[in-house]
Symmetry: C2
Subunit: 200 residues, 2 copies
DNA sequence: CCTCAAGTGAACACACTGTCCATATATTTC
DNA sequence: GAAATATATGGACAGTGTGTTCACTTGAGG
């Protein structure tokens, strides 16, 4: 969108706060997508944005918090959950979309690295739960509750647990890649849960 | 077991290789359990073990690889999967044990941090899969295959997917702590999968 | 126009990494 | 047992990133 990958030199003196904020987030997002958390440093972001490291430290409490903010500023999430009236169809579609996103886009590298960084970065951990995972959990839980009212899911089932058994299973293969994320995997997740794996 | 938390000074000259190796791993494990990955550095391990940093770099290709090796040298894993003949009982027992381990011991802090570090440490990632996750997956898959032969699980079910829906769900709550790991959670995981969540 | 808030550059101490030596000692070989 | 080899050691080095302090300069609001 703007210039990028070019270290910027600027004169001394104050600049408009909003402009600095925007340019820093833009630079952070671009650097994160380009190099991943391995090459992501506050120093590089500052150089890329032509801003002072002092300013960055002032606004973002940690490297991870800056990275997450940069990610959001570059990747505009839509956050929609289709409702066809059939929970199996909706869950499968949503999980297939998630699998596709993680397998075929930069998000598949960046999201695991952010979760990884969050394990030793309390600020990032809190921000990630609040701004990323919690809203997405909520959408899925709502869809499951609607399915309960339609009689497609038993009323005594804990929807939160189901979320962990669907998306959590995907994150498992994403973070500990013993096995790959595939479309068949996405379909099997839904089928196993709805039908059950036990003999009747 | 031996001395610990005390930086060691030693004279110049070669020492027996096995002894150095043991002391380094011991120090690495203790430091990891004491401070977590946040405070875990090669330099500290070297100082604690009274060894040279050069030696550490020679044997372990990355900070994460050293940490994992240290973890194994301090925490002696048993790696058993009981077989009572009832898959529901066995799975519940095993997952409850896992939940307990992660909730009530240092492993609950160290394992997530190792997985987190593995996202930007290829050496650790490979070592973790090979030495930790793969063997544990295999045990669970074997148990599920036995259950299939007993007629307790449908033959067309992919056991690997089931593993992700049980343990992966736990790792999800461990790595992204929106919700806590509880005994009820462990039981719900098994019940949901065996019975199914759909209306008959 | 004047004051205050805020970004900027420069410099600093600090920690960790990764690497280079020369030296000293253990291990192996003869 | 002595020589040859292998390997750990201390010390030093440059490179990078962090976090902070300081004086300076400029934008924004009254």
């Amino acid at each position: 969108m703007t210039q990028s990958a070019e270290p910027v030199r600027r004169g001394r003196g104050r600049r408009p706060t909003d402009q600095v904020r925007r340019e820093v987030l833009q630079a952070a997002g671009e650097l994160l997508l380009a190099e991943g958390m391995g090459g992501f440093t506050i120093e590089k972001v500052a150089a890329l944005a032509g801003a002072s490291r002092v300013t960055l430290h002032k606004w973002w409490p940690s490297k991870g918090a800056l990275a997450l903010a940069g990610y959001f500023s570059v990747v505009g999430h839509t956050l929609a959950f289709p409702d066809t009236g059939d929970i199996a169809t909706d869950l499968t579609a949503q999980i297939r979309a998630f699998v596709h996103l993680m397998r075929d886009t930069r998000a598949g590298h960046v999201i695991p690295e952010l979760i990884g960084q969050a394990q030793t970065d309390a600020e990032l951990s809190a921000a990630y739960r609040e701004r990323y995972s919690a809203p997405r959990r909520a959408l899925a839980v709502e869809a499951l509750e609607r399915a309960k009212q339609r009689g497609q899911v038993r009323a005594d089932v804990d929807s939160e647990v189901v979320v962990d058994q669907l998306w959590g299973a995907c994150y498992h293969r994403l973070l500990i890649p013993d096995l790959p994320l595939t479309d068949e995997f996405a379909e099997a997740l839904v089928a196993n849960l709805l039908t059950g794996i036990g003999r009747p």
